[in-house]
Amino acid sequence: MARVKSASVSTRTFAIAGIAIALLLAFVVAPHASSSPDGLVKVAADQGLDRGAHPSAVAGGPLAGYAVNGVHDTTVSTGVAGIIGVAATGALGIVLFAGVRAMRRRRDASAPARAGAG
């Protein structure tokens, strides 16, 4: 779709605004989110689907349960865990997608070489 004349912002501005919103949601809003069990956990508890359940191998980890080990203020703890998660997903995502991009570039580069050889 063509860009619109006035509404368009630069990719840089868009990315900065997007990451700022994600960080705000994770740090400011997430600590106030509902702490009730989610749909699956509730149904599992009601119907006994969780009787074989055991804690995750990383349940004792420093960030388990979206809480930072040693930070006692739960609001800050959840918020900081959120910021770490936003940063970690962003970093892992960019590394993965840069790898995918490189995969394509390598393929693009090898295609004409093969054509030349043949």
Binding site: R3, A30, S34, S36, D38, L49, G52, A57, G85, F97
Partner: protein, 245 residues
């Protein structure tokens, strides 16, 4: 919707891991075909955003909450294949760092939320978009409705996994009814958040919405009309000038 360890038996979890790995491999190949340099940071941003919004549990019924799964949102923004990868990144970080979703259940969770969410959800999105008028609001509307279907769809697939290898005694019918029932409610929230986010991106950078890029938009038609009006005006003007001189 994140399945913890031990809800579903080992062999079923392993089989789901195989399906997930296959889906991820196909997604990597397909995403490589369309991904350009500009979209690399945007796809990373989409993963971050889905992570952040997944933390926002909203109440849906007495003592029950739900949150966005984000498959349709990611798929509409960056394309279905890159969308699978975005949600997979989110699920991996959640299970490894935050112990949200079991490590042995990661394959199950990738199937339910990344594959079913992004690919199944995007198929619903395309079907809805095809029957709606070719406008930007249709893109937002179609993504919202498709996103509303994603949690109940994931709930059905979970029920299937439970039927194959669940460690519980409840009947499949009862599990299906309870799971779909609560996830229809969660879907309302998922749909609203998805439609709002897609609208916001459409308003600022419509070219970054994959689900709008392949659509024959109103734009050419509008351009044709504007062009025709300009032509008529110009001819009028020319005729007026001829009369005047």
């Amino acid at each position: 919707m994140h399945i913890p360890d031990g809800f579903i038996n080992g062999s079923t979890s392993l089989a789901a891991g195989g399906v997930a790995a296959g889906g991820i491999a196909i997604s990597l190949r397909q995403a490589a075909k369309t991904l350009d340099d500009r979209r690399v940071p945007i796809a990373g941003l989409a993963a971050s955003f889905v992570f952040a919004v997944q933390m926002l549990n909203f109440p849906v019924a007495a003592g029950t909450s739900g949150h966005l799964l984000g498959g349709v949102l990611a798929a509409v923004l960056v394309g279905p294949w890159a969308g699978v990868l975005c949600v997979t990144v989110v699920l991996s970080v959640q299970s490894l760092l935050f112990a949200d979703g079991g490590l042995s259940a990661l394959g199950l969770n990738v199937v339910n939320m990344a594959l079913v969410g992004a690919l199944g959800g995007y198929a619903i999105f395309l079907a809805l978009r095809a029957v709606l008028p070719a406008t930007r609001s249709s893109v937002a509307l179609a993504s919202g409705f498709a996103a509303a279907f994603a949690p109940p769809l994931a709930a059905l697939v979970f029920t299937l996994e439970y039927a194959v290898g669940g460690n519980g005694a409840a009947s499949i019918g009862k599990v299906a009814a309870a799971m779909v029932g609560v996830h229809v409610l969660i879907g309302i929230g998922e749909g609203a958040i998805t439609a709002m986010t897609v609208s916001a991106v459409l308003a600022s950078r419509p070219d970054l919405v994959h689900g709008a890029a392949t659509m024959p938009t109103m734009r050419p038609r509008r351009a044709a009309i504007v062009g025709a009006i300009r032509k008529i005006t110009a001819e009028d003007h020319a005729a007026f000038e001829r009369v005047g001189s």
